[in-house]
């Protein structure tokens, strides 16, 4: 038991109950949870995100500080690792692309152990595997949800739905990404809970988004496959939101929908203030996006000011006679 994850779990459950109670009491609360909070959340997300990135943009990066993972550019006969230690812009672009799309730095994850009387390093793939499963599932889920926000629905959404529902199990058809999202988030959570070393360094800010995303995936799966909600009315409402003609449709929708929407609103509004900013931060990490060309190109610190110097020659000119008197060696007689 650990206060960090128990408090996060409790927070998510209480937030869910608040939204559910609000949806049940109807009227004003449906407008609050269905219209006001989602708009506020989107606004906070967009403006907060821009603010955070501009804050980073203002931070000076005077020197090249890439973390390198291979042989740097050197003599012609020494083979350079062009992607892991890039010295050109193209190399950096390839390195960044692979990092963002394939999470290469997580792929290198290793574990240190003492085995018998010797130290051993072991390649551990689980973090990378859970992360890539989680992120791509989330992407597929987000793109699929655009069917509620577009009219007519653009071609790529049915395409993704076809691929995601390729198993053709059940009706409504089971989507692979829904379960892999829930599984990915749960596995990442278990990793933090069960591995002592990782548990030790985990904070409430690590657990909260995981519980929140598990809550989102769980309510989504419940609505699609189990308790059911009225999809046509939901789309009427979401279309109202994105066309700036908000309204609560007549007839029942289902309380779980409001819980789902409230969770998503919180997640979206929480992004700019949390670790989830790695979404934008990955593009701006100076240890990845700089070329290692410090030895080929001189990088002058842009805020260097002219420094007043007093050279040894000038010093000797000032004190020559006294130095000779004291018997100190001088360069010019």
């Amino acid at each position: 038991m650990n206060v960090n994850y128990l408090s996060s779990l409790a927070a998510v459950i209480i937030l869910g109950l608040i939204a559910y109670a609000g949806a049940q009491s109807g009227g004003f609360y449906q407008v609050l949870f269905g219209i006001f909070i989602p708009y506020l959340a989107v606004l906070v997300f967009i403006l907060g995100f821009i603010n955070r990135v501009m804050d980073w943009a203002k931070s000076p990066v005077p020197f090249r500080i890439p973390s390198t993972c291979g042989q740097q550019q050197s003599m012609e006969w020494i083979k350079q690792s062009k992607i892991d230690n890039p010295s050109t812009f193209i190399g950096v672009v390839i390195r960044m692309f692979l990092e963002i799309v394939l999470f290469r730095s997580l792929f290198r994850n290793s574990r240190v152990e003492i085995r018998g009387d010797r130290l051993s390093y072991k390649w551990v793939i689980w973090l990378w595997l859970f992360a890539i499963m989680f992120h791509y599932s989330f992407l597929a889920v987000v793109i699929r949800h655009l069917r509620f926000f577009t009219e007519p629905v653009p071609f790529f959404i049915p395409l993704i739905e076809k691929v995601d529902g390729i198993l053709q199990v059940g009706l409504p058809i089971y989507y692979i990404s829904g379960l892999t999202l829930l599984a990915g988030a749960t596995l990442l959570l278990l990793r933090r809970v069960l591995i002592p070393k990782i548990n030790y360094i985990s904070q409430a800010a690590d657990y909260f988004p995981l519980f929140l995303i598990i809550g989102i995936a769980f309510t989504g799966i419940m609505m699609r496959y189990f308790t059911k909600v009225d999809v046509v009315r939901i789309k009427e409402m979401t279309m109202g939101l994105v066309t700036l003609h908000p309204g609560i449709p007549e007839g029942p929708i289902g309380g779980l929908f409001y819980v789902h929407l409230f969770f998503v609103s919180i997640l979206v509004a929480y992004i700019p203030f949390s670790k989830l900013m790695h979404m934008g931060g990955v593009f701006l990490s100076p240890t990845r996006n700089l070329a290692n060309n410090s030895r080929a190109k001189r990088h002058i610190n842009p805020w260097n000011y002219p420094v007043k110097v007093h050279t040894y020659e000038e010093y000797e000119d000032d004190f020559r006679e006294k130095m000779i008197e004291a018997g100190l060696p001088v360069e010019k007689e």
Binding site: W56, R147, T150, P152, P158, E236
Partner: protein, 128 residues
């Protein structure tokens, strides 16, 4: 080193991508589809379950029917009131709801649902 122009360009892309639903629809939404009943359906008044339930869960009933008919050979479905129906999409559902374009397709298209019912099933020719 000054990367601000590049970063601002990135932010413009970010805003454009994440506000996609707002600009894609040109801020106007067509009215949500209304289910249209045929004369026969109106006259019958009752379906195999009540209206709100059918709005949400019709697909599950059809899935259940497929399993019971094809795998267990039970072709009769008994509803909550004890009334019996032949479990068949083409012959029972579409007997009343013969207007596929108006009754099925409208909402399915609206919510980007592409049921594979009609990969196998024939649907009755619509009478105009």
């Amino acid at each position: 080193m000054n990367d601000k122009p590049k970063i601002i360009l990135g932010l413009i892309v970010f805003v454009a991508v994440f506000t996609f639903p707002f600009w894609y629809n040109h801020l106007s939404a067509s009215a949500p589809p209304k289910v249209e009943l045929t004369e026969k359906a109106k006259a019958a008044k009752v379906c195999v379950a009540e209206k709100e339930f059918m709005r949400r869960e019709h697909m599950q009933i059809l899935d259940q029917w497929r399993d019971t008919v094809v795998r267990e050979g039970k072709t009769i479905y008994t509803d909550e009131n004890g009334k019996e129906y032949v479990a068949s999409l083409s012959n029972t559902c579409m007997d009343c709801h013969s207007n596929k374009a108006e009754f099925c397709d409208k909402c399915h298209t609206y919510t980007s649902t592409d049921p594979y019912c009609w990969d196998c099933h024939r649907y009755p020719e619509e009478k105009k």
